[in-house]
Amino acid sequence: MNQKHPFLVVEVLTAIALIAAPFILPHLGFAPTTINRILIWGLFGLGFDILFGYTGLLSFGQSAFFGTGGMFAAYLLTELDFPYVMGAIILGAIVAGLAGYLVGLVALRRTGIYFAMITVAISEVFFFVEFNPLSRYTGGENGLPGVPTPSVFLGFTTLTFHSDRAMYVFLAFWYFVGLVVALRIVRSPVGAILSAIRDNPLRAAALGHNIHAYKHTAFVAAAIYAGFAGGLLGVMQGFMPPDAFMFDTSGQLVMQTAIGGAGSLFGPLIGATVWLFLSDFFQNTLHLGATWKLVLGIVFVLLVVFLRRGIVGAIADLYRMAKGARNATEPAEKPMAAPVITPVATEALLPPPRPTHSASSPILRATGLSKRYGGLMANSDIDFTVNHGEIRGIIGPNGAGKSTFFKMLTCEVPPSSGKIMFEDRDITGMSVTDVCQLGLTKSYQINQLFDRLTVGQNLTIAALGEIRGKFRLDLFRNIHKIPGLAEQVERTLALVNLMHRLDTPVSDLAYGEKRRLEIGLALATSPSLLLLDEPLAGMSPSERIETVALLKSIARGRTMIIIDHDVDSLFELVETVTVLQEGRVLVHGTPQEIKFNPQVQEAYLGGVHGEMA
């Protein structure tokens, strides 16, 4: 995402491979129709990989859209004598996309296993509808024969794609078009957000992205690809088979993608190559008869057990290992010791907080805020006001309801009663996404990062929320060409001192670095009110000193509320402190007043009077 692709290397290499394939593959034992079939499955899989590999939604319902697109196109071409083959296929893809939109309304209400189960049910519904109530149009179990061959009128001559070789050219062209489009989607801001949703949907939503709308987009895109591939299948075979609708079709797509490796766009193509080759090999060369499926099933299980990320993932790992071995022999270019961190205090580095309209009025006012979990009152009747530019601390013994209070302020959990005004706007009951869009966000007590993305990509996701709003369909926009994005990411990176870690995957970061990135994610949204939930938690003493310096530099010109147990560090940072105890506000005052307040001492030390440690 952060590397720019010089001269579209992937596209050029794919074009070369597609041109070379028909000359090489037959020598390896691939029948011409098998090669064509691989392209159709590969194209079908491009959309599926956007949905599964990039967004993390494992659907077993793709056969529904494959069949719908294919049947619609075949019906237009055979029964209605629609003259344009490509036109019919494109219309089929659109119809499949519409079906995907409607199905998505239901299926995307839930995630995880519910989503998988619902999509299984959907594929079965489409199968039965196609077979029975709609059999007048779809030919029922006979399918639709007589789908015409495509032809292209060039002005002086007409190209028709009769032979297998000619059909290969036709299919390879459309696979290439499909790939170019998919690559653009993956490299667009939408693609970046889809990966974020896969890694951590809750945080993606908390950074101001309407994840439901993005998931729906991926679902529709996958359905369009499926419908398009289904249309091509009918044209290739001259016959639209009803078994395109079968659950087996979905299953085969899932298995091919898993074998090839999800999340690379090429996984499905490679998986299809392996799958179709083996199935031909087992049936025609080894004459296994019906047993071929058993052998393939065993191969698949073994691959899932031992090859976690499929063939593409294994190749990537091997490449990395080889590269790592080479690097190890060379003298290390950089000492591995932790870089010495100098606190950044340049104001130019700050992502500017959003302009605020009424500087004198309170930025946040919560009144009568309560939260009840069953019989437990986590918060009761809290009145809380923070002014523009204030740095507020919140302390309280464990279980005082501090984190619950924060969750209500950011609208992660709805209050049982009470009202929250942010910049004179009632935000009670709004979604966490909308609240982030308004400029109120939080860094989490427990890191909520996008683990499979790099540091730079993490911050990009956060910055995109502010730059693009909560939903935008710029599917084909190059993420590197968004004005202001790179600057905002760089500023935040400098601020949290992770410049040298730009391209490091989050999973390789040290804990202290992850903690700073966590704060960076919140900062990159340019919040006008920033909540920090225990920013110092779990840090070593030296990391604490660095982070306090970091927070001081952030604090300038910003409004912040900080929860922490490290009272000494906190009192150094904040101007006023609110003490919570048992879900209520105990006292409120300056750090000095709080330090010597007998009530606070009692709350913490249980009646032993004396200066707090």
Partner: protein, 291 residues
């Protein structure tokens, strides 16, 4: 015009199918609830039960022996599956768990096809339950009535195990929070193995009970798996009462719709599922946060 006798007998069919679905779905739902694994090979367990029962019947000629031997066989398959493969997937992403059980399902189906062929097999109902019974208001196949009774007894047994035994208490606690159960000094892995075995057995048992009603073939599990999913979505994941309620609802919908047009049975099932998802996203008797 609706034929009321026909309608009533379809309602009974719905109840029989519903009981069966309830039993299979409880197996799926307690496995998911406790282990966090969605077993896509659960339909294959149903199928394996039918075949194991058929083999046992072939050797002994006794339906009771078939029922017991078949259930124990499927339980053993479940335990082995958990021990040898599923165990290594607890720490892996949910998608990997789904993929591996999906693959195992295919392996089971194709293995059975390899040994027994694709042609369907039938197990005759036990002599005691052959023929038809006159219920006064209608006549109904005796075995279907009996199977309703058998399934009810099995559900009751499962209920007693879940709600009246120490193991059941651990399982129900595990559905709420298996990490917490583990930290209380209970060997969760042993419990996981047992739960997987019992869950598989529930499906296998249903497979044998159903064998005299519908002939068995290697792919009978596929349709059952889909219906089971709908049941679990309707009833709520991890809820035993939800599985029972969902099973009966789904069974009735399928049977009654089939009376008018079997082609719409799945459509109606899907409509019901959609209504539940909109109205109560976590299922009729499910709790939020289990997914």
């Amino acid at each position: 015009m609706i034929n009321w006798a026909n309608f009533l007998s379809q309602c009974f069919n719905g109840l029989v199918l519903g009981g069966l679905l309830a039993l299979i779905s409880s197996g799926l739902t307690i496995i998911y609830g406790t282990l966090g694994v969605l077993n896509l090979a659960h339909g294959a367990m149903f199928m394996l039960g039918g075949y194991a029962g058929w083999v046992a019947y072939d050797y002994t000629g006794s339906f009771i022996v078939a029922l017991i031997a078949g259930s124990l066989f499927v339980m053993l398959v479940g335990v082995l599956m958990e021990r040898l493969i599923i165990r290594y997937f607890y720490s892996r992403p949910q998608e990997d768990q789904i993929l591996v059980t999906f693959g195992l399902g295919i392996v089971f189906v194709e293995t059975v096809r390899f040994f027994f062929g694709s042609l369907s097999k039938t197990v005759p109902p036990p002599a005691l339950f052959q023929g038809i019974t006159n219920l006064g208001f209608m006549v109904y196949p005796t075995y279907r009535l009996a199977s309703l009774g058998i399934v009810t007894v099995a559900l009751l047994a499962l209920y007693l195990v879940l709600y009246r035994t120490r193991l059941g208490m651990i399982v129900r606690a595990g559905i709420e929070d298996s990490v917490m159960v583990g930290s209380l000094g209970i060997d969760v892995y042993k419990v996981f193995m047992l739960v997987f075995g019992i869950g598989a057995m529930a499906a296998g048992f249903a497979g044998i009970v159903n064998a005299p009603v519908v002939s068995i073939a290697p792919d009978v599990g596929e349709a059952i798996l889909v219906q089971t999913f709908v049941v679990v979505v309707i009833g709520g994941v991890g809820s035993f009462p939800g599985a029972v309620l969902g099973g009966i609802i789904a069974g009735e919908i399928i049977s009654i719709t089939s009376m008018f047009n079997p082609g719409y049975a799945y459509v109606m099932l899907f409509v019901a599922m959609t209504v539940v998802l909109v109205w109560r996203p976590y299922g009729l008797l499910g709790a939020a946060g289990r997914e």
